[in-house]
């Protein structure tokens, strides 16, 4: 089974802090994605990556950056956390050329 592991289930940070959310997948998938999930808004794509050291902006990239130094690891970075970034963050991966996403269990981030 594909496993997508997100480093923290719950995270509490203060406004202005730099926040790192880590995601690791174990099935050699080329594609990796970061979504945020908010009630009534569904899942919105923040950033995605089709290969190592490659990144593309999704629909809501403002306030975020990403890093993909190794194929299995995709990090989401909040340079200066703000309260409107309080959300559930979901990482996903997929094989190149397929459309089936495998999601991690999510990180619930609270910014106070």
């Amino acid at each position: 089974d594909v496993k997508v592991t997100q480093s923290s289930r719950y995270l509490v940070k203060r406004t202005g802090e730099k926040v790192f959310l880590e995601c690791v997948q174990d099935m050699d998938h080329e594609n990796m994605f970061w979504y945020r999930q908010d009630p009534g808004l569904g899942l919105r794509l923040i950033y995605f990556s089709y290969d190592v050291k490659m990144k593309e902006k999704g629909d809501i990239p403002e306030g975020y950056s990403v890093s993909r130094e190794k194929k299995e690891r995709f990090s989401l970075i909040l340079e200066s956390a703000s309260t409107n970034q309080t959300s559930m963050y979901l990482c996903a991966s997929s094989l190149a050329g397929t459309r089936s996403l495998f999601f991690g269990s999510g990180t619930q981030l609270s910014v106070l």
Binding site: G40, G42, R44, S94, A96, G97, T98, R99, L101, G106
Partner: protein, 110 residues
């Protein structure tokens, strides 16, 4: 701009009934339409998917109906069970990027 519109936001169904969730899309370039199921505390998981060259796909109690001319597709859950209680997301894609709907919280009561 919501490219995939999903309704209803919540749905309550009695055990044994039919659950129906609807989605509409705008971009005619979309060529893959999956449904994801999410249980509390878990990430979404692929449930069933369809491509626009067919009008219906069935897997067990789950059926996708697709209307290309209306740019609409729907998920039907037959004989709904309490274990089907979850949040359901429709999505649409062109290439490897998925655009999700806003989700439907389904509750099935015994």
């Amino acid at each position: 701009q919501q490219q995939v519109k999903q309704s209803p936001q919540s749905l309550i169904v009695q055990k044994g009934g039919i659950s129906i969730i609807n989605c509409a899309y705008e971009n005619t370039a979309f060529d893959y339409f999956p449904w994801y199921q999410q249980f509390p505390g878990k990430g979404p998981a692929l449930l069933i998917a369809i491509r626009p060259d067919v009008s219906e796909k069935k897997e067990g109690r789950f059926t996708i109906s697709f209307n290309k001319s209306a740019k609409q597709f729907s998920l039907h859950i037959m004989d709904s069970q309490p274990g089907d209680s979850a949040t359901y997301f429709c999505a649409a894609s062109k290439a490897d990027k998925l655009i999700f709907g806003t989700g439907t919280r389904l509750q099935v009561f015994p």
